[in-house]
Symmetry: C2
Subunit: 247 residues, 2 copies
């Protein structure tokens, strides 16, 4: 089964890919690893498929591109080979119990680029885990934003997407995060108290969540302590064996 | 008045900032320019406020960071000075008829970073233009994604946000884009025909759009031909003079 970690730079994709992969291997599973980041130097796992074999952001910067331009250009070049990546990853998934896909450092070079969209469309039923870290959750509207962003990932790349709070070892009051993320009714009632235009939009968007998508439980993960890995394993199992019911 | 261009790398923010600024200057307005991109080399406008005076992605890469890490780290460092940027841009807005803000190359380093959120919160009623280019619009669900993303920008940074299709000089069939983007009912009826789970989600999300936010017209812009600049000027005027009614 194919498991894809997606999230902004710094959300913990690469560290989690390595740590969750080791957890699965220690449980006796065979695990294949895919690196899609053209700008990474060191990886905490041995990649079986690696875009850097074709192109790196570094070599494009040597041609005179800036860092932003080099990252985008690297995926423009990879687009010509997207079918080969689909075949390679599909083959790896046939050989291994799990394939873990670590996506580009900047999420938008995956979500907003034809390379990411076409790759994900071509793969057999990948489960995507949308990672967001506690430091982007300050105000009630931010929790609504994160829950909604998981739907946006689903809408864009067409995969079943589970939202996951990463780096939970760095927060002391996890219960506060859980209450806002797990209980949409509670979050909605808090947003109703916000007098701003932004608060009203958040309230409306949050209220519409239950109608837009089936209830999906939020994962709470730490690559440091391994917390939540058993739940992620269960979720992946449910995705493949019960046709995507992730309530 | 403050006008902010936001969008992914390659959506045309920097080119439009320069071209629309020149258009305003030629119309007799005074225009101030703000560059928030730490990774850009050449700008088509003379910045009055420039984050590169404090930090550049290049100098951080020289410390050994990769391109993704350097970009994120540059905004971590800028965060300490966010109040000074709020003051500087507010002062510029008092002196000039227009202030144009050109945001970071990678949109997520603005939307998902406290620097971007706190900066926008601090500024007096900025109007944000969310730019997306025709190359990300392939399937009906992509149009839904783009309309929704404009709401996500609003939800995250709390500014009135207008969606704008950029680079319209590069497409031949603009009418097709307009029909999908302007007519939510038409888009919804097309999405209803999509049999996939993704199609169902897109249909539900698109159907909910009219309830979530007041109808906002989409702009169609070309930095090459100047098409749409008059409409953008009108929209900015309406935003400041009629309290954000952008129907």
């Amino acid at each position: 089964m194919i498991l894809t970690f997606i999230g902004t730079a710094g959300s913990g994709k690469t560290t989690l890919s390595g740590a969750f992969g080791r957890y699965l291997e220690e449980s006796g599973y065979s695990v294949g690893y895919v690196n899609l980041d053209t700008g990474v130097e060191d990886l905490p796992y041995p990649p079986d498929v690696d875009v850097r074999d074709d192109v790196t952001a570094w070599e494009i910067m040597e041609e005179g591109y800036g860092p932003n331009g080099a990252i985008v250009e690297s995926y423009d070049r990879l687009l010509q080979k997207v079918d080969a990546y689909v075949s390679g990853i599909t083959k790896l998934a046939e050989e291994m119990d799990y394939v873990i896909i670590d996506t580009p450092g900047q999420m938008e070079t995956f979500l907003f680029h034809e390379f990411g969209v076409r790759l994900m469309e071509g793969l057999p039923s990948p489960l995507t885990v949308y990672l967001f870290s506690p430091d982007i959750l300050k105000r009630p509207a931010d929790f609504c934003f994160s829950r909604f962003f998981s739907l946006m990932v689903d809408l864009r790349i067409g995969t079943t997407t589970a939202p996951a709070l990463s780096k939970i070892d760095t927060v002391e009051n996890l219960d506060r995060y859980r209450r806002f993320l797990d209980d949409i009714d509670y979050l909605t009632s808090r947003l109703k108290l916000e007098p701003s235009t932004q608060g009203l939009l958040a309230y409306r968007m949050c209220s519409s969540l239950p109608e837009l998508a089936p209830p999906t439980r939020v994962l709470y993960l730490s690559a440091v302590t391994g917390e939540g890995f058993d739940e992620l394993e269960t979720l992946a199992y449910e995705h493949y064996c019960t046709c995507g019911d992730l309530t």
